[in-house]
């Protein structure tokens, strides 16, 4: 049994047989052909070109409706490349001139083309060599199929299979889905890459970003894919299989149970109304948010719009995306661009130099204030979308009040511009801030006076307070949301909001984890914003808790000097069955 860890995308758990497919560039050995057989090679090439174009055209019609429109546009461009006269002519010339097979000629031509692209100065145009290489690989593979040398990629029914590949193109993903693959697993890709988005629209489980680990998965092996945990288990033993099947059923059962409380008010046993909001990143998550019964979006991350592309999205494109979310969910807190550190525009490809400590470098509001055009474009789109519902604008990573003043001046200027240009907008959008830098948490009183609302970003707050990089495996064990310093800062921020009558929400992972729900309620938190997938779980805890009775535990936990004991106390707090009033006695 081997356990591989990647990023889970899509939905559910799947168990099936590994179907290992090499969708990366195909290589054949250099093959010299007798002169009298060259014409046959050319005929095969023509047939392969025709079939590849047909396949791509068919795939084009099978792209799911809610998939991003670029996917269809790319497939159309790929069809034109396959049908390009010069591609055929050049390849045929090479076949006759060098007396080589069609595959060899294709590879020679591909390498020539790639050289031309690589010499281009423009980064974006240069990256188009990947399209050329993908297209030629598809023709190449078609040739191998025609010659009976590639029997793995037939039109086989894949309903019992899990597709395992180094990389899947959008076209591959669509066609494998039409062959009914159960799940897929890839080396490349991340939560926001095209294939991940497709997995979501197709509602199949997938694990992407295995970084070279897929080579450990043999063709035909039994494989389990868990999109919840991002785990891939190769040849799971009997016990693990049982466990997975049980978990699969458990997910289903819990889900059904939780759906029952979806429409109920989230109110504690002692009548405190708690607002439960969803964190949303991709447009496709709007549905999940709606299904969860969230009363709005507490954190709409806009980074997705800016990543994996060469240019920032235009005002219109942003406006359309924001409007879509606002119209669907009405109450939406849009966070301005939080790029830098681990998330960089264009996957970091455009970054010339790498900052030695990106988490402490130019990111989020710092990045926005240094890119005024981009920032203004985003703010314009937000103010315009705010006509359609209750929109709040949230600024990430504030560390001093001057930054906030600059942001407010920019917002005022943008509103003024829009007014002069006679463009419909809302100039009274509340401006709030993320409290995620310890400096801001410590001076939360000052921030609360100048902000319309506060939102605690625990992921970064913990990382900065404890000085540990969460993605660094060596120090990961030090990550502790229950550390007294963290709890003190969270509590201090909530208190500051109360003092100045400003709403405080919490939108980090702590809000999504129902283990912390009671503790946070006790600390005075009334607005939780979380991954919509866990919202109903949190709601269930809210509805079976009483603020009055959990509040006593808070100081006990914050003042406890032993980390294991703190965990124990938290467990005790979570175990209390508050419907049983006798349980209030604290051990």
């Amino acid at each position: 049994m081997i356990l591989l860890q990647g990023s889970g995308v899509g939905a559910g758990i799947a168990i099936g047989t590994a179907f290992v497919t090499d969708t990366a560039a195909v290589e054949s050995s250099f093959e010299v052909i007798e002169h009298d057989r060259l014409t046959t090679e050319v005929e095969l090439l023509d047939l392969a070109l025709k079939r590849t174009a047909e396949t791509l055209r068919k795939t084009r019609t099978e792209v799911p409706e809610d998939a991003p429109h670029e996917i269809a546009a790319f497939l159309e461009a790929h069809v034109l490349m396959v049908e390009d006269e010069t591609l055929r002519e050049e390849t045929v010339n090479i076949v006759y001139r060098e007396s080589v097979s069609a595959e060899t000629a294709l590879m020679i031509h591909r390498d020539d083309l790639i050289k031309v692209f690589e010499s281009m100065e423009d980064e974006y145009l240069r990256s188009k060599k990947d399209d050329v290489s993908q297209v030629i690989s598809q023709i190449h593979r078609q040739l191998l199929v025609l010659k009976g040398e590639d029997d793995k990629r037939t039109e086989q029914d894949l309903s019992e299979y899990i597709v395992v590949a180094h990389e899947l193109t959008p076209a591959d993903t669509v066609s494998f889905t039409n062959l009914k693959m159960r799940a897929f697993v890839t080396d490349l890709g991340s939560r926001i890459s095209h294939v991940a988005i497709l997995a979501r629209s197709l509602k199949i489980p997938a694990v992407v970003g295995l970084h070279g680990e897929v080579r450990h998965i043999p063709h035909g092996a039994l494989v389990a894919v868990d999109s919840h945990t991002g785990q891939v288990i190769v040849n799971p033993d009997e016990q693990t299989l049982e466990e997975l099947t049980r978990r699969h059923q458990e997910y289903d059962r819990q889900h059904q149970q939780l759906l029952a409380i979806r429409h109920l008010n989230s109110i504690t046993l002692d009548e405190h109304e708690i607002t439960l909001l969803a964190n949303v990143e991709l447009p496709s998550e709007i549905d999940t948010a709606l299904e969860s019964g969230a009363s709005g979006v507490g954190l709409y991350r806009t980074e997705y719009l800016f990543m994996n592309r060469a240019q920032s999205p235009s005002e219109e494109e942003q406006y359309e995306s924001y409007r879509q979310v606002v119209q669907a969910l009405d109450n939406v807190t849009i966070r301005t661009l939080d790029l830098g550190a681990d998330k960089q525009v264009d996957g970091g490809r455009r970054q010339g130099k790498v900052a030695t400590n990106p988490a402490l470098g130019v990111r989020a509001v710092r990045f926005c204030l240094r890119s005024p055009d981009m920032f203004r474009t985003q703010l314009r789109a937000i103010l315009r979308a705010a006509v359609y519902g209750n929109v709040q604008c949230m600024i990430p990573m504030l560390s001093n009040l001057e930054e906030l003043a600059q942001v407010k001046a920019t917002v005022a200027r943008v509103a003024n511009d829009l007014r002069k240009e006679n463009i419909e907008h809302n100039s009274t959008v509340p401006i709030g801030g993320m409290i995620e830098v310890p400096a801001a948490a410590i001076t939360a009183d000052q921030f609360a006076q100048h902000l319309d609302f506060l939102s605690i970003g625990t992921n970064d707050l913990i990382q900065y307070t404890l000085a540990i990089d969460r993605v660094d495996d060596e120090v990961n064990y030090l990550y502790d949301p229950l550390h007294p310093s963290v709890l003190t800062l969270v509590k201090h921020t909530i208190d500051a909001g109360r003092k100045f009558d400003k709403p405080v929400s919490l939108c980090g992972e702590m809000a999504s984890d129902s283990n912390y729900t009671r503790l946070l309620l006790g600390m005075g938190l009334r607005i939780f914003s979380m991954d919509p997938a866990t919202l109903l779980e949190v709601k269930q805890v809210v509805m079976s808790s009483s603020v009055e009775q959990v509040v006593g535990y808070v100081s006990e936990i914050i003042n406890c000097q032993n980390s294991l004991k703190r965990l124990e106390l938290l467990e005790q707090l979570n175990r209390i069955d508050l419907t049983d009033r006798s349980a209030k006695a604290f051990a």
């Binding site: 034109l80 490349m81 010069t86 145009l125 188009k128 060469a310 240019q311």
Partner: protein
Amino acid sequence: MKSGNIQVSNKLGLHARSAAQLVRVASGFESEIKLINGAKSANAKGIMGLMMLAATQGTELELRIDGPDETIAYETIRQLFESRFGEDE
């Protein structure tokens, strides 16, 4: 024959999707349509050649059209470039 200079004004330049659009438009005409960037020349009815012109924003291309519908073809293609291939910037 009709010829003239034409500028690439969309931000991304003549990339896969914009080139695809040009090919679709050009293929609707009978005339022979060529785009020239310095020493490189491409048939506007073939996507590979267009992509390999490496035409970025601001590049001046020479458009050369020869055939029965050259006037309307020239005007249509000029407008396509001017509209930035329907891209926002």
